[in-house]
């Protein structure tokens, strides 16, 4: 590599492409949502936020995303710990369980969950044959079903960053803590947990932004009855032909996504600065 000054030019094709086909459209979308007939205006946002139904959808979307992230974290953290200590065949089992579902599409998995949660579906049949319930309970179209399904789909994105951090952690650190008199509980809360926080932040940011904007999973599991922001966007574009509303909601989703990215990288930097 002789002319290192000019090597930067190699980035131009890719950068130009993303600038024109990705950044510019998003920017235009954002700009347009603040305009009515070419004039700066917050009218669309005022309309959106003053509508009680819209607000309930916004609230539901955020609540579902937060609960999905929480559920995924609760399952993922212990899993990542077990995984970071696993070797050989067990590690392979864990890795396959992460990579295979990631490679299978969202459409397939969301469809599978809709089979599982059906009133005459797999879960109800199982529960009834075990005698745990007498009559099928309604699961499809509930928020709980949505959260479980979404957590399932996004789980690998929570486990893998935490696993990566734990795997990299110096094994001597918990040992040093033990030799200094720290009990296992003290060790966990004062060494392992704080050191794994960057992975937790990355995982939560990823899962939350995926969950806020998920579309396929709620359409298959809860359907039209309980709208989310994404479904409302799609509906306003594809069925209602109310593009102004769609553009506004898209911009809100975009602003949420950007805040999550900025917020998490700020947090990660703060955590990183101490390490």
């Amino acid at each position: 590599m002789r002319r290192l000054e000019n090597i930067g030019l190699l980035a131009l094709p890719g950068l130009t492409f993303l600038a024109v086909i990705f950044a510019l459209p998003l920017l235009l979308l954002l700009l347009k949502s603040f305009q009515i007939d070419g004039q700066f205006s917050l009218e669309e946002y005022r309309l959106f936020f003053s509508d009680e139904y819209n607000m309930s959808v916004l609230w539901r979307t955020l609540r579902v995303a937060a609960l999905t992230t929480l559920l995924a974290l609760l399952i993922a953290y212990p899993t990542a710990i077990a995984m970071s200590r696993a070797n050989g065949i067990w590690l392979s089992i864990f890795l396959v369980a992460m990579v295979l579902p990631m490679s299978v599409g969202v459409v397939v998995k969301a469809f599978a969950w809709s089979i599982i949660f059906r009133t005459r579906g797999v879960l109800n049949d199982t529960l009834m044959s075990l005698g745990l319930i007498d009559a099928p309970i309604r699961m499809l179209f509930t928020e709980t079903a949505l959260i479980i399904g979404a957590a399932n789909v996004f789980l690998p994105f929570m486990v893998l960053p935490i696993y990566a951090v734990l795997r990299q952690m110096d094994n001597r650190l918990p040992e040093a803590a033990a030799s200094l008199g720290a009990t296992p509980v003290f060790r966990f809360f004062n060494v392992t947990l704080p050191l794994s926080l960057p992975g937790v932040v990355a995982g939560c940011a990823f899962v939350f932004s995926l969950a806020v904007s998920m579309y396929v999973i709620p359409s298959l599991i809860v359907g039209e009855r309980q709208q989310t922001l994404s479904m409302l966007t799609a509906r306003s574009f594809l069925f209602l032909r109310n593009e102004a509303l769609g553009a506004t909601i898209s911009s809100i989703l975009l602003i949420i996504a950007i805040s999550v990215v900025l917020g998490s990288s700020w947090l990660a930097n703060r955590l990183g600065a101490r390490q």
Binding site: E5, G8, A11, A82, V104, V216, S250
Partner: protein, 266 residues
């Protein structure tokens, strides 16, 4: 090891194994449901049968959707690999300001809501007068695939010790030969994993594609959701099982050639 240590260990392994089961559940259920003889989803099926696989032939538009999806995935991944290689070399080898920012920017589509990108592209293409559905879809799918490629290429190129190329040159290899013999073998795993995940992401994409299709150009995920609304019989489980088989093949190829552990890096 104390009792508390053991409790921690047992707890994390129990949850970990439950997590494995939980993750595999939808895949196993789908495959099992696809072999049913009944026309509703009951498990275990009353009788095993291949009838839903046979019924796929009669599904109108399925083959067109499959070929369109494969076409988009292959072409967009190939273009992304070219654009990605150039950009990754520039970022890891160049000496200019803002390299970090460029790296973040090229990976950022991963963090943006797909639906919003779809909406934005829809409006943008309309404004510039791009009406062709195939070209719209292809451009959209490059936005999907490029960050996957960038992520793995950036990770493995910045980990690559470029003095190895110099070492090979002092040992008598010409510059192109040194690149071929030293750099390429070291980056091959990154190309494979980045390419695989990009391909699968394109195959699976719904939220961007839905805004860019027309009546004649429908990708597989869009077609599947449409079938689900029109006629939700177990033939959908059969289609899904086909996609699962594709993912399994990708996984086996990846695990065999680069190893599972490297597949999740980057």
């Amino acid at each position: 090891m104390t009792g508390t240590d053991r409790l921690f260990l047992v707890l994390s392994w129990t949850i970990g194994l439950c997590c494995v089961v939980f993750l595999m559940l939808p895949i196993v259920i789908t495959v099992a449901a696809s072999f049913t003889s009944s026309s509703v989803y009951t498990l275990p099926p009353p009788e095993w049968s291949l009838r839903w696989y046979q019924s796929l032939e009669r599904r109108s538009g399925l083959w067109e959707a499959v070929t369109l999806s494969l076409n988009l995935a292959l072409v967009s991944t190939a273009i992304s690999l070219v654009l990605g290689t150039l950009a990754a070399v520039a970022v890891t080898r160049g000496r200019f300001k803002g390299r970090e920012a460029i790296a973040t920017f090229t990976v950022s589509p991963l963090m943006m809501p797909g639906l919003v990108v779809g909406v934005a592209l829809l409006q943008f293409f309309r404004e510039i007068g791009l009406r062709d559905a195939y070209w719209s879809l292809l451009l959209g799918h490059i936005v999907i695939t490029l960050p996957f490629v960038m992520r793995t290429l950036l990770a493995s190129m910045s980990a690559f010790d470029f003095s190895l190329v110099d070492a090979a040159r002092t040992l008598g290899l010409s510059y192109p030969k040194a690149i071929l013999k030293v750099l390429v073998p070291n980056l091959a795993p990154a190309y494979l994993t980045g390419g695989l995940f990009a391909f699968l992401a394109s195959m699976d994409n719904y939220p961007i594609s839905i805004f860019l299709t027309d009546a004649r150009n429908k990708t597989l995920p869009i077609k599947m959701l449409q079938y689900l609304e029109e006629q939700p019989d177990p033939s959908l489980a059969a289609m899904s099982s086909g996609l699962i088989l594709m993912a399994v093949i990708a996984l086996v190829v990846g695990a065999r050639t680069v190893g599972l552990n490297r597949m999740i890096e980057g």
